[in-house]
Amino acid sequence: MSKPVLVLGGGIAGIQAALDLAEQGVDVYLVDKLPSVGGKMAQLDKTFPTLDCASCILTPKMAALLRYPNIKLIMCSEVQEVSGSAGNFLVRILRRPTYVNWDLCNGCGTCVEKCPKKVPDEFNMGLSMRKAIHIMFPQAVPRKALIDEKACIRLNPPPELKEKAKGPLCGICERVCPAKAVDFSQKPETIELNVAAIIIATGMELYDPRNIPEYGYGKYQNVFTHLEFERLVSATGPTQGEIVRRSDGRHPKRIAWIQCVGSRDVRFNSYCSAFCCMAATKEAILAKEHMPDVECTIYYMDIRAFGKGFNEFVNRAKKEFGIKYVRGKVVKIDENPSTKNLVVTYEDTASSYMKKEEHDMVVLAVAIRPSCPPIPVDLTADGFVKLRDPYLDPVSTTKDGIFVVGVVAGAKDIPDSVTEASAAAARAALIAKGYEVPVAVDGGGYLA
């Protein structure tokens, strides 16, 4: 009889690990802090270097999760504490209330239509609005509604209305739900799990570009991050794939990508975020595909086109799409207050002069920061989860029985994350099925 494994994080790496484990007959708890699996990949339009559609390759995997009876999805949840040891971990998880009974909800969306309150949509990076009760995105898995309690009029009534009202406000969703699934009385729930092994797959967040005020993010409307641009260019995004400026809703004519924002910078993060050169190249190509006359310029330090198909992709970008690559660190960005265009000041390393160039939209390749969960494993100096021995124990953390996959262990692209996920799943399955976790069997100490 095998014990379950906890996969922490439902991005592509977590999903792959869960599927591999389930395929091997192991019970899996897949925990994510968001209401749906999919992670950052679900927010991408197309992936480099093949330009295949992120959803097409991700959503079948997401849907496959539902077909295994031995995968249990625990959404809107975060780990509070982990204790124990390999073969016998005790994990305490806190599940936020969704205020919707997910056993009854069938994702029909009637509640969403009728809800009167709108707030910025985080999935679309704040570029569009969603309702207080919402389904995270159309292909969400699980496809269930949840209520954002801060936005909800019933759960968090605005003070002026609260005084005037005689009882609870709104509640429209509760009334219209055909499955009677809305439940305002839900409370946070503590879940305790006993698992044999843990796979950390919690992914990343973007470094806050407001820490680098000279780039004007947050001040200048037409400065975006990579992720925001990905949502703009997505067919299923806030503008149905129309790349438009925040200031006037018009298509840009000259877009600039600024690489290494917060990466490779001793002031902020000295590591390289690995995939941003390729992401920028891809985005520039997509911009050209959407608007053939747009000028695209990428300001870079080194073009990190190291992976399979990457260098060819960059060559295509240059020759076929006319994307300009300018080698130079951008010093600052200024805004023209009337046009809201942006003037980029950079060190042109070819001429050794400081130059200025005007663009009407800027996309920042912001550094990634690992989202480390509160688990007793060692971290590197940069804050990533540390590998015990990358050569002899590739996906193990410094604690036996806890494995780590994906970008939370170091910047990498999708194929590398998927590879690690499969490797970790097999290791975790070994422990789950009751094979020992030795210190010195077979003279090793490195192979758990």
Binding site: Q24, R67, S270, T349, S352, P394, S422, A423, R427
Partner: protein
Amino acid sequence: MHEEPRIGVYICHCGLNIAATVDVKEVAEYAKTLPNVVVARDYVFMCSEPGQNLIKDDIKNLGLNRVVVAACSPSMHEPTFRSAVESAGLNKYLFEMANIREHCSWVHGDRKLATEKAKDLVRMAVAKAALLEPLEEKEFPVYNSVLVLGGGVSGMRAALELARYGFDVYLVERSPTLGGKAALIGHVDLQTRGSDIVNKMIELIRRNSRIHVFTNSELIELKGFAGNYECKIRVYPRYVNERCNSCGECEEVCPIDVANEYDFGLSRRKAIFLPFKSAYPPYYVVDHRICTKCGECTRVCRFNAIDLTEEPKELNLNVGALIIATGYDAYRPLKGEYGHGFHNNIVTLFQLERLLDPEGPTRGELIIGGKVPRSIAFIQCVGSRNTTPNARSYCSRMCCTTAITDAIKIREKYPYVDVYIVYKDIMTYGSDESLYLEAGRRLVRFVKFEEEPPSVVISPEGIFIDLYEYTIQERIRIPVDAVVLSTGMIPRRDLEDVVRVTRVSIGGDGFLREAHLKLAPVESPTKGIFLAGAVTGPKNIMESIRMGSAAAAKAMDLLSKGKVVAEPMIASVNEDICSGCAICVGVCPYDAISIKLVDSDRIAHVEEALCMGCGSCVAACPSGAMQQFGFKDKQVRAQVLAAFG
């Protein structure tokens, strides 16, 4: 199935999602009028318990033998309803769905038009349902063993993981020793030598009774399908056995000498030799390809360890899966390319690794051309990134990190040696960026070119690196004592042997192609054959090891249930009609079709375990002999005819 179809049709309201736009009752009434329909019902949520029970009860009570549900997309609930049907005792493939939600009620506003369309979609589903046949999910038993082709770090890693999971592993290596290229890399990172890693892995393999190592061996034949492969390997004779104690006297008298590939050509070796200090098996070997059988070695061996009469052996092995981990070759610059071959002080990156290795030909001393150079320049992207006409288009991924690591080591050991790195882009991605910073701190000089690659000028005054430097926009000439060409990774010259035997496919860059670059990075398109390490493209050692682990995991996914289940909606040949024209054979992307002789007739044969059910062969078949279960011509045709009444 020759019985009369008895079809039950169920129209789902899906709450109001369908019912608000489509008149579900009208559709149910209409369904009753269709041929072969015995019962038609509508219900608020067909996927719910009570909804499913309607179906199950009708199957039992009304003797239904086909079921149609008109509801949401099959991608949502086809498996749900198939399970329901199966639990009532009916074959789960006797079920068809009509998508009247995503394809109808949600996208059309006009009630009348949406209802008419829903009726059409139901009619199409009913027409197909009448022609559905029960399908079996065939199971095949599997062998609990795996053949790993390639004894480098990724192959060894895969073998160790598989053995841990209880599989028998046949580790087949072409050269006389395990270890691959990693064993020869002096500095994998600032603290680790390649041989440190390799030695530990070899030690673990030695002690593991489930791993059977065959060095000096090749895979010469592969038959069968995923879970059930029959392999034939040929073990070439070593001519030396375990009685050897590596005294080396045979080596001294051997008359044949060749460039030593284990030092990347920096030294020479004899036909009888020890590949490197911790080679495994840990004794000498005779290179059977060049030995003249003169017998001198046998004469001097005091331990009776040499037997030149040894014959090659062939072994048959049954395995469930294959992992191809045959690695790469180092790019060999053309004679004259960057001066290569014209001066002893121009070496490749791999040769430098041997020079810096304490177990290398110079005991780890940076001796090039007889002495330690006063200045040394690395030229990056040699053979990569289209820098020269002979170069490949891709980046070889590991050369910047390797060159910078070596540069740091050189500066550490020889602080008076000037080190230059001549580069186009520095590819120290991820956390390797810290090496770039460290190199700068140690005053390694970085010099950049862009479009025009640097040239190496050999003159009586010495060696010069000539380039148009990008950051100062001037032509410069750097005098150096030695040059290191950072050569990239290319596919092995003998990769075609692997491809011929296993029929895996080669990608555009000459390396092996994965089933899907993102979703299946360690799987080949052929089910049951997995890929690990640099055989798919340039990888560093850590990445190769990781892939070995992942490939082992994937093999385990396949074999862990003790059986493989074949996809039921596969192609199948009507042998009476098939004329053996073999058009289908070439069309199949999975090599699943072959021509067999049936009573002296050539007939196409579909290997059920390999067919993935795309249907390309069906459309290609000129006679209609090839059909696809679940998507037979007559079934698709029935839908076409029913589409517009």
